[in-house]
């Protein structure tokens, strides 16, 4: 066997090992989370953990519902803002924008994707918190500190724009040009073509793109931690503070661990997040891979 083939062989094996390793890492992580949260899981029934609103670790009450509700509120608001905005942007970029505009806009979107989440957090504190406090809350006729569901939702929405836009544009670009031309040649307008043909054909992928973005929103710790308000209550409105799961973990891990079961509780929170994000990612990736392979 000559040298080049040897290198090729070793290279291939090495990459296989690394790939397997990252898979194993994921399993180890999941296993670690399960192992660590088993203490609380064996003491409390799952439905109490998930659906009880009593969060009082000192008295041994671990109802995660306020955090779960907070997470859902914040992610829900982010989704409601991000989905239409990023979808329209993606449609504009793939169907309407000329090469010049794409050349200007695409780098900005990539830049947006590359900004660390802590910077988004700071931006939220500096700009969105006062904006919500001074302008939006009075509009509602209520008082809000600005650290609330709406603020966190806005910040998260901006964070997931690039994910949804980029993946959606890719999916839209995979629709063959000729399908658009078929519709146009029948006398359809561009918008009719986009709405009835392009989006229809790209729908599974567009949904996957959005799910991917939403999965990202679930896990974004820093941004949410800095602007959500972090009060352990079930939010009743957009102006209420929320305490989403990532913020709970980041704020308390390492601090409150003298309280019995607290660390196990936090691992359980992490397990929940892990499971949700993993599931969302898995589903959307599977859909995207199928689309790329041309299976419809």
């Amino acid at each position: 066997m000559n040298g080049r083939r040897l290198v090729d062989n070793i290279g291939g094996k090495l990459m296989l090992v690394l790939t397997v390793l990252s898979g194993v890492l994921l399993l180890l992580m999941a296993w670690g989370l399960v192992a660590k949260s088993s203490a609380i899981l064996s003491l409390k029934p799952l439905d109490t953990l998930l659906f009880s609103g009593n969060w009082n670790p000192l008295r041994g009450e671990f109802g995660f519902f306020p955090f779960i509700a907070g997470t859902i509120w914040v992610v829900g608001v982010a989704t409601v803002i991000a989905v239409p905005v990023s979808l329209l942007t993606a449609i504009y970029l793939s169907e309407y924008a000329g090469r010049k505009i794409k050349g200007i806009v695409n780098p900005f979107i990539d830049l947006l994707a590359g900004i660390p989440s802590v910077v988004y957090g700071v931006w939220g504190v500096l700009m969105i918190v006062p904006f919500v406090k001074n302008y939006i809350a009075p509009l509602y006729g209520t008082f809000s500190s600005g650290y609330c569901v709406l603020t966190a939702g806005i910040v998260l929405a901006v964070m997931i724009f690039p994910v949804i836009i980029n993946v959606s544009v890719e999916v839209l670009n995979m629709v063959p040009r000729e399908v658009r031309e078929a519709s146009l040649s029948l006398g359809a307008t561009k918008w009719q073509t986009v709405k009835k043909v392009v989006l229809r054909r790209a729908m599974p992928g567009v949904i996957a793109a959005n799910v991917l973005g939403i999965a990202r929103a679930f896990g974004e710790t820093m941004a949410v931690l800095m602007v959500a308000g972090n009060v352990a209550m079930i939010p009743k409105s957009l102006m209420d503070p929320a305490y989403p799961l990532p913020a709970l973990i980041a704020n308390n891990y390492g601090e409150m661990l003298s309280i019995p079961l607290y660390d196990s509780a936090l691992f359980f929170a992490a397990l929940l997040l892990f499971a949700v994000v993993f599931f969302f990612n898995l589903v959307s990736r599977a859909v995207l891979v199928r689309i790329e392979k041309g299976i419809r």
């Binding site: 000329g98 090469r99 063959p176 040009r177 000729e178 399908v179 658009r180 031309e181 078929a182 519709s183 146009l184 040649s185 029948l186 006398g187 359809a188 307008t189 009719q192 009835k196 043909v197 229809r200 054909r201 419809r296």
Partner: protein, 253 residues
């Protein structure tokens, strides 16, 4: 055979960026006949065809000068409603591209867009044009299955029905049989022969024998230039230009 001119091209130039692909093309395409555009690969046949329904507009960095008159109207005039121009022409592409919907919906798509809403009217239209494209018998029991479930040959006939359903005057076809098996190809050719009394058909083809079989009028394009055009018989039996002769004999391709 003296038909009136349906599409008239005057001094048409097309540039992709700096690359000029059609050079000062002038032709008159007669009404209610089959016109074949022939020429070697890359000479601008598709580009010419795509000028007729202004699909060329969708290309980035395109520049078009000169005129294309359809029924005497300059279609590149900015006042023109491009959807109305396209509605006048059905398009068959090299490979069939059904819309991502059912067989029925594919045919109903055009009429719907142009304002036909009633279910019973659409039913009539769908049946009529599927029959005209000679595919009704094969699909009448599966109208609501996705169009992608059909064979390629069936899909091409479905695309023909879809184009006919907007009641065009012109059928544009870009190598419509090149992806099809011989039987399906013959089926499309037979449809064209039936339809040519009612429609102006302009087809691009690579296959000289097909042009001979079908065309009444032939346009020969070479490297972006119109070399020769005229009745099929003249072009094939008695070409004026040396280069046409060579192409027809298969010396250049």
């Amino acid at each position: 055979m003296k038909n009136r001119t349906h599409i008239s091209v005057e001094n048409l130039n097309v540039y992709y960026g700096d690359n000029q692909v059609l050079k000062n093309v002038t032709i008159a395409i007669p009404d209610k006949t089959i016109t074949a555009i022939i020429g070697p690969s890359g000479c601008g046949k598709t580009t010419l065809l795509r000028c007729f329904n202004r699909l060329i507009d969708t290309v980035d960095g395109i520049k078009v000068t000169g005129k294309v008159l359809v029924d005497g109207d300059d279609i590149f005039d900015p006042q023109q409603d491009v959807t109305a121009i396209r509605k006048k022409m059905g398009l068959l592409s090299q490979r069939p591209f059904p819309l991502p919907m059912s067989i029925y919906e594919n045919v109903a798509y055009g009429p719907r867009i142009h304002g036909t809403r009633k279910k019973n009217e659409l039913d009539v239209i769908v049946e009529k044009y599927l029959k005209m494209a000679n595919i009704w018998d094969e699909v009448k029991d599966r109208l609501h299955e996705p169009a992608s479930s059909l064979s390629i040959g069936q899909q091409q006939r479905l695309c023909l029905a879809r184009g006919l359903a907007v009641e065009p005057e012109i059928i544009l076809a870009d190598e419509p049989t090149s992806a099809l098996d011989p039987v399906s190809s013959r089926n499309i050719e037979e449809r064209f022969m039936e339809l040519k009394n009612r429609y102006t058909i302009v087809m691009v083809t690579h296959i000289l024998r097909q042009a001979k079989r079908l065309a009444d009028y032939v346009v020969f394009v070479y490297l972006g230039e119109l070399i020769e055009h005229g009745p099929s018989k003249e072009i094939f039996e008695n070409p004026k230009e040396q280069i046409t002769k060579e192409y027809i004999k298969g010396i250049i391709s």
